[in-house]
Amino acid sequence: MSTPPTLARRLNEWGLLLGVIGAVIGFIIGFAVGTHAIPYSFDEDNSLGSDPGILLGYALSVVGFLAGMGFLNYPIGRLLGAKRPTEEDNAYMHGEGGGLTRYFRMTTDHKVIGLQYLVMILAFLFIGGLGAMFIRTELLTPSPTVANAQSYLTLVGLHSTLMIFMASAAIIGPFGNYFVPIMIGARNMAFPRLEALTFWLLPPAGLILLSTVFLGGFTTGWTGYAPLADQNVLGMDSYLIAFALIGMSIGLSGVNMIATIMTKRAPGLPLSRMPIFVWSVLVTSFLGALAAPALIAAVLMEVFDRSYQTTFFVPAGGGSPYLWENLFWFFGHPEVYIFVVPAFGLVMEMLPVFTRRPLWGYRVAVGGMVGIGLLSFVVWQHHLFVSGLAPSLRPFYMFSTELISVPTGIIYLVALGTLWRARTRFTVPMLFIFGFFFNFLIGGFTGVFLSDVPSDFTLHASYFVQAHFHYTIMGGEVFALMAAIVYYLPKMTGRTMDTKLLRFQFWAVFITFNGTFISLISVGILGMPRRVISYAAYLQPLNISATVFAYGLGLSMALFLGILLWEVVIKQKVAARNPWESLGVEWQVPTPVPLFNFDQVPVAWSLPYDYDTGKPAADFGPAVPAFSGA
């Protein structure tokens, strides 16, 4: 840059520091106002402050953080009559010439945001995984040893909530943000500032959630059931604010992705020729945009119950615990498909590459994902089969839940059809895809037992449920995440982590994962309830087995992270330009991807799966010149 940077740019460069300062100021103001100005008659004896103080303090600290980061500059500037940003301003905001520093400020480049997401997801996964190790250590014995009841429940709440945060964005965050615009031939997202916001809500959410340990923790687990939540001390407020932030991130990300996919596709790219991964992101985005508001509403009602003495969920005041359960699971069930539909999309995107043939049944695959999306809104009461709520509706929810196995089965049909009589390249990503299908199959079949009301009577709220959703989230989504990291890192960073050791790592993680959760399926069948620190003595041998395998699982996950850091950050092993010989358009653009992806957007588009003819997804014509700035 030859011209001296303007004040606005200087501020943007120092955004992270200003954000922290803003957060501190916001917290102090909110805490003071909440503590002193809101009449508060709960005689909770807590020297750390009152619920309104903490709630308002956290809320305003997030506003202060985002303001410091520069999220308000554009809207306020425009309101005050500032000119539209120039091309040059946009390129700057996009991170042009920013080097490494652009990862630490607000940028509107979806590729930067994708990598920011990846690092944040891995951090959540790491911290949440440590929590799991502590939990398994405690459960080595039938009575409390290393933890006490309070710290154990807080640990359970932190592990589960943090992992839910991680899983909500694990695939759509890094890979959806990075690759959707490229795959549809867009130069940018529809709402790039909004997209940046969805990422920058995550660090405050994670930190606020973790701060619960200084506020007494919370005993409700990730489901936050009222009226237990009303009883909890200040630590509950951390959970509420953090979850509301994640809800906003999910919902806003959905809005941005829908608008992008609907309006920014290249000319000549109809919906019917979009890569299957983009379809999965589209379905997921509708789920997020429609389901997250229910969560945010529920959380706000609980915030009011805790600070303004409303009684939405308090039975003694005319409220109902069922209201929370309904709102929460109305969000909570689509949420599990927010986790796994992008994983379906990614896996189906990679299968043709490794089988060297077209995706078989593209249309039914799209139909399957849309079907999953629609059905996922009418099944939530399967979480409430034994709750005593509307028993006469149980057959309907049993039917709708079992019906979901039809569109889910379609994903397996498409995979098997694509694989049928193919010569499969058994690369590392393909190993993880195999693991994905294996684990998710167990997750699906265990789900059948939970969808059936009579068998759910005995399995509900037991470790069987816990193992079931770990099979779908960890065995499904996280295995797909690991496949995608190995597969896409060469594109995202120009470096590769594909080594021999990674094959060993796969088998280690695959075996220890199944060892852990087969043990836990068994303790569930034998009658061990979830979230207990004490259990019946006859369950100890299986719990020891689960813990020993879980240690192995923890080590092998750490090995993955270690290989990633060693190969990509330390050794910086350079990757081939298109190591998997993919025809996808994301592999046809240069690495690193130019600032605005395309100089000339190709017009002739096809599905990127024509491996029998070898025709790439988009016709670039002559070599694309790199972006040259303004």
Binding site: P227, R423, F438
Partner: protein
């Protein structure tokens, strides 16, 4: 290609042995939650049935995945090209979708019928006041389960509403459990009887079951209810003979006599105390 045909045959034979062997093993294995009540037996039967149907399908998909991914694998240097792609094969897709749909529909019908037999009108109290004393073992005896942090109390309205910390039930007598809570959401889980019902304040959650085996059993809370949720368990629940039950009722009635006048009148729900929420 001869090798491939052999491989397919081997995979099919292995799958067949696995499927049949697994189903036979399931038929003879103990299926939870056991046979200690009619409800538990019905749940065991459902689980067995789902497992018997599910296992061959599960192992078939696994075998197909294993065959297509692992047996057919290749490495880039000495690559064999894939066979011609399967193009949109509408027949296979329709058959697959129709097949899964049929399985799902029959499961849903079976589940609904089983539910209707096990729990006719479940969850809803059969009448506004407590049931009358049963005149036969097929008429339900009402037992109220009151959950609070962090224990269960039981009331027997047909025996004057006596209240006990221990659950004792007569064998082969149909029991109607009326589950409610005084504070937060709990869940009453009598594993051996196959009974699980959330205890929600101001709600009366009804489950019926007929215990069929005399013995001592474990009861625990199955919904996270705060600090001592893990310890909200009790190993002393008993199913006893009718004469032992009568004796036990006699003894509890005498024990409870001095405190009966302090107990709230029996009702299906009790007003939760507002003080527990800290206000």
């Amino acid at each position: 290609m001869r090798n491939r045909a052999t491989a397919i045959r081997v995979v099919i034979i292995v799958w067949f042995i696995l499927a049949v062997g697994g189903d036979v093993a399931l038929a003879f294995g103990p299926i939870p939650p056991g046979q200690a009540s009619d409800l538990a037996s019905s749940e065991s039967l459902t689980i067995l049935l789902l497992a018997e149907i599910g296992w061959p399908i599960f192992s078939a998909v696994l075998a197909a995945l294993f065959f297509t991914m692992v047996v057919n694998r290749t490495a880039p240097p000495t690559e064999e090209p894939s066979a011609a792609a399967l193009r949109g094969n509408t027949r296979a897709q329709t058959a697959w979708i129709a097949g899964t749909l049929v399985v799902v529909l029959s499961l849903a019908v079976y589940g609904t019928v089983a539910l209707a037999i096990d729990q006719p009108g479940a969850g809803v109290p059969s009448q506004a006041s407590a049931l009358a004393m049963p005149t036969s073992t097929s008429q339900p005896l009402e037992v109220q389960v009151i959950a609070q942090q962090w224990w269960f109390t039981y009331r027997y309205p047909t025996y004057g509403g006596i209240e006990t910390p221990q659950l004792v039930l007569p064998v082969n007598q149909k029991i109607e459990f009326n589950v409610t809570s005084l504070d937060v959401v709990h869940s009453f889980w009598f594993y051996a009887l196959g009974v699980k019902a959330d205890a929600v304040p101001l709600n009366d959650n009804v489950v019926t079951a007929t215990p069929t085996k005399i013995g001592t059993y474990r009861i625990q809370c199955a919904e996270l209810c705060g600090l001592w949720h893990g310890n909200m368990a009790d190993n002393t629940a008993m199913v006893v003979s009718p004469s032992d039950f009568a004796a036990w009722i006699q003894q509890e009635t005498t024990l409870d006599a001095p405190i009966m006048k302090y107990l709230l009148p029996y009702s299906h729900t009790y007003e939760p105390s507002p003080t527990i929420y800290g206000s």
